[in-house]
Structure formats: structure tokens, C-alpha cells
């Protein structure tokens, strides 16, 4: 029989180290940066949900990481270089065929310059 000392991992909700409350206007700013419209009536609800997530995340702040190198790739691998050769063919028509709006080989968007 294997006996293991129980240790609380899931039983408790995460302790709040520091309450990182986020204000509604800050959510609106973030949404603008992310180019996502939020229905005005839903901003409060979105703010509450994101505050819950940020509170959970905030326990990271309690850890001393002063000498730790950030890890971007789990294998600490760096991108490989390849020979500078043309390997792709031009498939403009195939790509344009799946676009929402095209004309004369161009992608159409609302008028930008008056």
C-alpha cells in the first residue's frame, strides 16, 4: 500500500495576496487595445469575471524571482534559421477566394481616407 501525506492543493481557494481590483474604465481601455467591443450593459459583468481571474493570478506576486531567468520556451530552444531560398509559391487567388470582400485582387475594407 502506498501512503502519501495529503497536502492541500485544490481544497482551498487561492489566498489573495493583494487585491488587484480592476476598474470598469480600465477594462474598457483593455478592450479597445484588444479591438473587442463590449456591450455597455455587459462591462460590469466582464469586469467582475476578469477581477476573479486576476485575483487568482496575483499569488504569483508573493514569489521571489529576482535571480530567475524568464523561460519563453520549455526546451529553452531558439528558432532555427533556414537557407534563404524561395520555398512558397504565390497562391493569391486561393487566399482571396476565402476573404469576406475582395475586388480586383484587393481586400476591401471601409473607407479609411476621405
Amino acid at each position: 500500500m502506498i501512503t502519501l501525506r495529503p497536502r492541500c492543493l485544490l481544497g482551498q481557494r487561492f489566498p489573495v495576496q493583494k487585491t488587484m481590483a480592476i476598474e470598469q474604465d480600465e477594462i474598457e481601455k483593455i478592450a479597445a487595445l484588444a479591438r473587442i467591443r463590449i456591450e455597455p450593459a455587459q462591462v460590469g459583468q466582464v469586469t467582475r469575471r476578469i477581477t476573479e481571474i486576476l485575483r487568482m493570478v496575483d499569488q504569483l506576486q508573493a514569489v521571489d524571482t529576482s535571480d530567475i531567468e524568464p523561460m519563453a520556451n520549455p526546451l529553452d530552444a531558439t528558432a532555427l534559421l533556414r537557407a534563404d531560398e524561395v520555398t512558397e509559391v504565390n497562391r493569391r487567388e486561393a487566399f482571396q477566394a476565402i476573404a469576406p470582400a475582395v475586388e480586383n485582387g484587393l481586400y476591401l475594407v471601409p473607407k479609411v481616407i476621405e
Binding site: I2, R7, C8, F14, I27, I30, R35, V46, I53, T65
Partner: protein
């Protein structure tokens, strides 16, 4: 014909007991008859599948077939398939028909496998229950009132319901292993970089990895043989050749040292699930393995670390959906900004938008160091915990999930509770390690999975342990009720 492993089907095809067209027709008929209940497929290939099956039969007749030639497979709807809609479970890509194949799909085509269709999934692979899919939740074949797990829930449900002999999935934080556990099948998340990500819709690029889902570890080895290997078109693909993952399946487990992370057996683990895992560990001991208690001291930081890194990378990756080049576009945009913001409001679901906002916040000026850099530093500590364990043991074992599949709707109103579902699986992605779930018991009529965690590029050893375990147990042979419908 439909309740056989890939290995058995391959033998039947080679021996001429049935053709790939017959086999493919049988699975397509089962999907048509039964998937109204399970909702495990978003798109079914139909004619394309039968054409591929006919081509496979020609290869078999000509003697040029490989092990997977003529085998029907289901692919998660995250892999681009040339000429077959790839929605990623999102309204944003509901109309997206890719003009190219993902490398994984090309490799299966090269080897003659047949694509049955594309499976249901949480939107952009963000979820642990399949409930965030634009196409509605898939159902767990063991209990259609329960979730199949996620995000690769459709793939797991399709295999468990015998609608496909095997499937592919992707795993960013547990999305192969957790649904495999909930649906009573075997699922392997390979080492980060082992399988090409080209043509796999990106969620979190430093975590995403594709892998096989099947009834047995042996079948997972067969599929991984096709999937694994360096892809020069994916800059994060590991520059090393694939290997024959079938070669070492029968190796003895004598002398194998298995570490049991004490943090994975704590209060949060459902008692009956824990008892199943203890019993499974005794099986491994009986097969010659030695069990050693180990510790992953930073485990409690896994969820917060993941929920900075994954949303940050997602917010960057999903910035490409702009309503201009492909995918959904809102009606009558008044200007360019309105086009972007309304397309993204209408095209993305709630959880995806939530994660984009969290990620944008974590990467925004003034918060980058406090969130993203901090999480990357703690990610290194989490990986180091595993490396310290592997100085003492060959692999780790524990539960895949805290309990069996939960009821539909139980956690949809509480995102943080949903995130806790992945408590035992997330760290494996943060550390880039291979992890596998194998059926290891039943609780209240629902399957339980045991997770095995290997060293980097140690997939062969995991598959070996899974295979030996499955030779000694019959959990992988259990089937849900009501599946034995003979379809004409």
C-alpha cells in the same frame, strides 16, 4: 468491425477481410445514426472520405500500403484540412475552408489514412468541458448528461462512442489527457515540439502540442509514428527525426522507478478516484516498477502561471482575426475600427474574449513585468521541479483529473472553478514534457484516468508503460452502454 483497435483494423485490411471503403462506410453510417446524441463531429467528410478510402484500397492491392493505409481517423477541428471546413469551434471560422493541409494532416494523407471528419472542441481550444464550442457541447458517451472534457472533447467522445477507431487532439493545458480520462480512452500529449504545429490553429504557441487519442497505448504509438518528426516549416518543431514508437512497447518494466508527486494526492483529489489510482499503481508495482514519493513544490503556482502565459500568447495569436482576410466579418461596418471591434465581439465567444482581455492586460504597458515576465520566471521554477524529480525517477504517475466527468453546465458560470479542473495537467505543458492518460478505473459508472509524465522526448517509455499496464488490466476494453447499434 467498429469495435476494433487500429492495430486490429490494419491487420484486417492487409488480410483482405474487409476493404477501407467498407470500413469507412461503416463508421460514416455510425456517425450518421448516432452522433445526433454525442455531437462529437462538427463536419463529416463523406464523399472525400470514401474517395480517400478507395485510393487506400488501391495501395493495399498494389502492395504499397503502410500500417495506417485505409484506417479511418477523426481529426480535431483545429487542424487545417484543404477543402474541408476548419472552424476551431468558433463562429469566427464557421465559414473557413483552408487552402492547405496542416503538416499533421499531410503526414496522415501520405501514409494513406482516411479523414472521417472534424471533431467538436472548445472554442479555440479554450476550455475543459467542450461547452464553449459554437456548435454546442459534445456529450460524454458514458453519461450523456456529463461533459466529455475538453478541449478535445469531440475526439474523445467519438472514439469512446466507436464513431472512429482513433483521433487526433491538441493539448495546451490538458486538452488531450483530461477528455481521454473522462471518456475512458488513451491520450498522449507529446513533448513540446515533437509534432509540427504548422496548420494547427494557434492558441498558446509555447504550450500547444498535438497528439493521438485512441483505445490503447499501442494505437497511440501507431499514430505517433506518422505524426512525429521535424518540420522545417514550423520554427518550433524539434530538429530531431521521429522514431518507431512501436519498437519498445513490450519492454519489461522491471527496475523502472516511478515517482508519485505528493502534491497530486492531496485533499483536492476525489477519494474514489484516488483509490482507483492507488490500485493502478499497485499494478505497475506488480509489473516490476518501484514507486517512490517525490515532490513538485511549486505545484500550487501552476494555475496562476498558466493563466498568465496562455492568455497572453492567445491575445497575440488571436489578433489575426480581423474580418479582412478570412473568417467572420460583421455586417455593415461604419469604419475600419468598427469592422475590427464588432467582428471580434460577434465572432468570438465569452471565454475566448475573456482570455484575450486577460492576456492583453498582462502584456500591457506597466503590467508586463508584474505578470508576463513573472509568470515566465515561475515557469522555470515549475520545470526545475520536474527536472529534480527526474534525477531520482524515470517517470511520474498520478491522477489525470481530480474526479470523473462532471455534469454539463456545472462549471460554466465559474471560470476559475473550470480552470481548477486542469490542476494535474497544466504543469506538464509549462515544462514541455510528454504526458499520457490511460484508463485506470471506474467511479459511479464513469471512467478515471491515470496520468503518466515522462522526460523530454520520452514518449516511447510512456507508451511502453501504458501498453504493459493495458496488457495487465481491462479498463481500456470497457465500453459505454447503448453503443452496440448495428448500422446497415
Amino acid at each position: 468491425m467498429y469495435d476494433k483497435t487500429v492495430a486490429q483494423l490494419s491487420a484486417g485490411l492487409q488480410a483482405g477481410q474487409f476493404s477501407s471503403v467498407e470500413l469507412t462506410r461503416s463508421f460514416l453510417a455510425r456517425i450518421a445514426a448516432l452522433d445526433g446524441v454525442y455531437n462529437s463531429f462538427i463536419s463529416v467528410a463523406g464523399e472525400q472520405a470514401l474517395a480517400a478510402a478507395a485510393a487506400a484500397d488501391e495501395r493495399i492491392a498494389a502492395g504499397t500500403a503502410g500500417p495506417l493505409t485505409g484506417i479511418p481517423l477523426a481529426h480535431k477541428d483545429i487542424f487545417c484540412t484543404d477543402g474541408l471546413r476548419t472552424s476551431c469551434g468558433s463562429r469566427m471560422l464557421d465559414n473557413f475552408v483552408p487552402p492547405y493541409d496542416a503538416t499533421l494532416i499531410s503526414r496522415f494523407k501520405r501514409d494513406g489514412a482516411v479523414t472521417l471528419g472534424k471533431t467538436n472542441m472548445d472554442e479555440f481550444a479554450m476550455g475543459s468541458s467542450n461547452e464553449s464550442s459554437y456548435y454546442g457541447a459534445a456529450r460524454n458517451p458514458w453519461d450523456t448528461g456529463a461533459v466529455p472534457g475538453g478541449s478535445s472533447g469531440g475526439s474523445a467522445a467519438a472514439v469512446a462512442a466507436l464513431l472512429a477507431p482513433a483521433a487526433t487532439g491538441t493539448d495546451t493545458g490538458g486538452s488531450i489527457r483530461q477528455p481521454a480520462a473522462f471518456c475512458g480512452i488513451t491520450g498522449l500529449k507529446p513533448t513540446y515540439g515533437r509534432v509540427s504545429r504548422l496548420g494547427m490553429v494557434a492558441f498558446a504557441s509555447s504550450l500547444d502540442q498535438a497528439g493521438p487519442m485512441a483505445h490503447t497505448a499501442e494505437d497511440c504509438a501507431w499514430l505517433l509514428n506518422s505524426m512525429a518528426g521535424h518540420d522545417p516549416r514550423d520554427a518550433t518543431s524539434a530538429p530531431r527525426a521521429g522514431e518507431d514508437y512501436r519498437a519498445g512497447l513490450e519492454d519489461s518494466l522491471k527496475g523502472l522507478r516511478i515517482g508519485l508527486p505528493r502534491e497530486y494526492f492531496g485533499d483536492g483529489l476525489d477519494a474514489a478516484t484516488g483509490a482507483c489510482i492507488q490500485q493502478a499503481l499497485r499494478e505497475l508495482e506488480a509489473l516490476g516498477a518501484t514507486l517512490v514519493e517525490v515532490s513538485l513544490p511549486h505545484s500550487h503556482l501552476t494555475i496562476p502561471t498558466y493563466y498568465v502565459i496562455a492568455p497572453a500568447e492567445a491575445s497575440t495569436n488571436l489578433s489575426r482575426y480581423d474580418g479582412v482576410r478570412y473568417g467572420y466579418r460583421c455586417d455593415n461596418p461604419s469604419d475600419l475600427l468598427d469592422l475590427y471591434t464588432r467582428t471580434r465581439e460577434e465572432g468570438f465567444g465569452e471565454e475566448v474574449k475573456r482570455r484575450i482581455l486577460v492576456g492583453t492586460y498582462a502584456l500591457s504597458a506597466g503590467y508586463y513585468d508584474a505578470y508576463y515576465k513573472k509568470a515566465q520566471q515561475i515557469r522555470r521554477l515549475i520545470k526545475q521541479d520536474f527536472m529534480d524529480c527526474f534525477a531520482q525517477v524515470d517517470l511520474l504517475a498520478g491522477p489525470t483529473t481530480p474526479g470523473p466527468a462532471f455534469p454539463l453546465g456545472a462549471k460554466t458560470d465559474d471560470p476559475v472553478a473550470m480552470y481548477l479542473e486542469d490542476i494535474y495537467t497544466l504543469a506538464v505543458n509549462l515544462a514541455g514534457l510528454p504526458g499520457m492518460s490511460v484508463p485506470a478505473g471506474m467511479v459511479e459508472g464513469k471512467p478515471v484516468g491515470m496520468q503518466l509524465i515522462g522526460q523530454h522526448f520520452g514518449e516511447a517509455r510512456l507508451l511502453n508503460v501504458g501498453h504493459r499496464f493495458q496488457q495487465a488490466t481491462d479498463w481500456h476494453l470497457r465500453r459505454p452502454a447503448n453503443l452496440a447499434v448495428e448500422v446497415a
